[in-house]
Amino acid sequence: MSLASVLDRLLRRARLDHDMDEEMRSHMAERAADLQRAGLQPDEAQRRARVEFGGVENYKEQCREARPFHFLHGFLDDLRFGWRMLCRAPGVSLLALLCLTIGIGANAAVWSWIEGILLRPFPAVAHQERMMAVSGTYRGAAGAAGDSIDVSWPDFRDLRKSCTLFDAFIADKIMGTTLGIGDRAQRATGSIVSANYFDALGVRPILGRGFQPDEEVGRNAHPVTVISYRLWQERFHGDPAIIGKTQRLNGLPHTIVGVAPPGFNGTFVGWAMQFWVPVSMQEAFDATGYQLEDRNSRWIEGFVMLKPGVTPQQAQSQISAAAARLEAAYPATNRGRGIKLFPLWQTPFNDAGTLLPTLGIALAVVVFVLLIACANVSHLLLSRGVARRHEMTVRLAVGAKRGRLLRQLLTEALVLSTLAVAAGLLFGYWCRNLLVLLLPSRGGRAMNLPGELDWRVLTLSAVLCLLATALFGVVPAIQASRVDLAGAIKAESASVVGGRRRGLTRWSLVLVQVALSFALLVGAALLLLSLRNMQNMSPGFSTRQVLVTWLDLKSAGYDQQRVNDFEDQLLDRLQTVPGVVSASFAEFAPFAYVTNATAPVAIEGFDNAAGELPTLNYNQVGPGYFATMGIPLLSGREFTKADNEAGPPVAIVNQSMAAQYWRGRDPVGSRFQFNGRWLRVVGVAKDSKYSSLNEPPTPFFYVPLRQNTGGTILNIRTSLPPQSIALTLAREVHALDENITPGEVITMGEQVARTMAPQHVALMLLTVFSILALLLAAVGMYGVMSYTVSQSRRELGLRMALGAGPRDLLRLVLSHGLALTAAGVALGAALTLGSSRLLGYLLYQVSPRDPLAFLSALTIMTVAALAACFVPAVRAARTDPVRALRS
């Protein structure tokens, strides 16, 4: 049967129904006429004709079933009827729709985040399913999120040469840099990449070209760049003749050779790259110096493209073998070092790794919310099922089958959830970029955390729709269609004490809601405690009265001598500003994306059992740094202006380094070798936190800026707020050079808080949704309590007649509410303890079983339950025994 004739039949359905009706009536009229001829009265003849014919509607239905695609007709009927029924009780329908929309919308949004950030973060890349992240390992340990072990360029090139299962090795290193715009400098984010970058990713520049193989060879030999579409549009106004023009990057003129296509933001989840330069330009962009020939300096964050059909296991074993050969060939630098491949969602060095636990929690939260919403909708439908008992009874009496009624009710549920999916997807679409707003700003630099509402998310939502229908629709439908024809005329007699099946269903729905909202409340409480601990925790430096900003002079064309002069003059000027206590420059700021450099050091008098030099973290800081930051010195002195190019090389070590390498002796006066020079230790600083509050005490040392390469981070100790210092600073800087603009000024406290973004996002999601869940559960409990009270008026009246006072009845209802809450809380507690591992990643000095969290969640839950039961309880207490028993 062709599609056209199917459509034709569907459209002609009304006429066919009409024909059928006429045909049957004609039959009965003929029969009545015959009966009349046989001597019956006209009235009696017509009655007999109808009786002999049998159930007209029933036969009509059977006739319709004889038609092909009758199930489709039935479905369309059900849809239309379902829609009418929804419109008939608009309040209930809208409430149900709202619950489901929130549930499904929240799910769609979170899935789109997971899709766009973890699973398929690079939509512009041709085969991202074959892409894996590469990270180094040290003695079997891979880098954790934010703490990755990078790969050196010589190792990277050797791996590329010796591994055959890969289409490409892609080197990629994110860097913050300055973009010269006219006379001003603007902060920009770019990547240092291998020459194959664009070809290997299958990203074709829309103008010009990608990089050529020879452009990754030669120290600073190829100042060329590919710029992003957005930079091209915003900075160059889409100039079609852009290729061949130059752009100053970090003070160095670069020739623009290509423009990346729109939608390609590079390959670092969370950040939108504005330009790319080839590996050969590494030194120009990296403060730590030339690293392309040093097998011991590890800085590359890379990816590989597997050949089609190669499994991750095969790839891993080949690359491990290659790493083992490197270890054997270069024991001095590679002992204990390996290479590990990660699926993109576990990428250890970008925001995928940082957001993984948060997104995991978000997923659990939205699934909980959906379950709660489904329970609530089930409630609503159950209540409506009671109201529609009469309708069902009539329909059964005129011959409808139970299966047919069930189908009808499920179709109604499907209508509801389809509408909810449509609204939910809209909601999800609006929320897809919300994550960026939830995260703290990054000094105005372009963030990029888009959700992807692709066909996978859409399919999942459709599946969710069916699942939700099954979850919230089946129980009420079965209940509503299970009408006892004989019993329907009898009044239902549920009671507070005795629960029939229908009562049981309601009670268990409320139980589930209480359990889920309790779990969410505990989660929120745990995160709150954890955040409070983090905020109260001292990172080892002052967070309130110290500000941090940056000042980039090199890109404005300054050489080292002019930088030094400028910085000295600026510090002198700042000293005279009222309210400023002190100021000092440094190379890195704690809790930034990069917080330190690393170098091997040889410590005098430390006999090294392992036979290799320890690699330690360090920072370069100016005079007065420790006083400015508020880091106490345990012995010795702080750096002074005398610790400059002319003075003897010195260093300050931290407590952990002193303890580990001098074993309790005061290291002041001892020496260690660093970068080929012997440094004398002049002080010991107290340990502080460098990149995260969770990190264990780490050996760390400081060297003077003037005896090393210099830095751009400016710390200011002051009682003034950041905004006013920002103005003062801009004024003082402009007085020295009009073309220089300082970066964003924030407190160190803000700097630390920005690293707690995952906890903040998780806390916000949990708080919002646990309040929502609590409300839904309270509404559910109110519903079931008032229903039960109204159904058991007779029993309540009887109790009263037998001597129970209003107080007793109040207590009776409240105690039932509390018993229900207790059961739900017990279930929820079990659920929370079972899933606490999920939160564990984000918790800071809080046990997932923290009694305070459980206790506060219990209190909130109990108060909510009492509030929900109070009105029904009062109603029960006001029962008039005479009227209740008489009715």
Binding site: M20, E22, E23, E30, E52, N58, C63, A66
Partner: protein, 114 residues
């Protein structure tokens, strides 16, 4: 009810309808009357049950329909046999006869013949 009446075997209603219509186009009530007339009122058919069967046969292209006027001047839908319907009637009649012969042989057998 004077004469004993037989319940229809499942599936036989279709065959009865095809046979009734093969003698000339009929409307629904006419089919009923024709069957009662041929069987001398021995077969019991609930009147409404006729229609689902008529619609089924029509869907299988065994019957064709057209609207006409009954003897009592009422608008009525007439059913007639199609080419396919004729063939089906022949086939079904043959297989029915074989079944009846076989059943009679079995039911009419005596112990010594078995």
């Amino acid at each position: 009810m004077a004469a004993p009446k037989a319940e229809l075997l499942p599936g036989t209603l279709d065959l009865l309808i095809l046979k009734a219509v093969s003698l000339g186009p009929l409307h629904g009530y006419g089919v009923l009357l024709r069957i009662q007339q041929i069987s001398a009122g021995a077969l019991l058919i609930e009147q409404g049950a006729l229609y689902p069967a008529l619609y089924r046969l029509q869907e299988q292209n065994l019957l064709a329909t057209e609207w006409g006027t009954s003897e009592n001047n009422r608008r009525a839908k007439y059913y007639r046999l199609t080419r396919q319907g004729e063939k089906r009637l022949r086939d079904e009649t043959q297989s029915w006869n074989r079944l009846v012969a076989a059943m009679s042989a079995v039911l009419g057998s005596r112990p010594e013949e078995a």
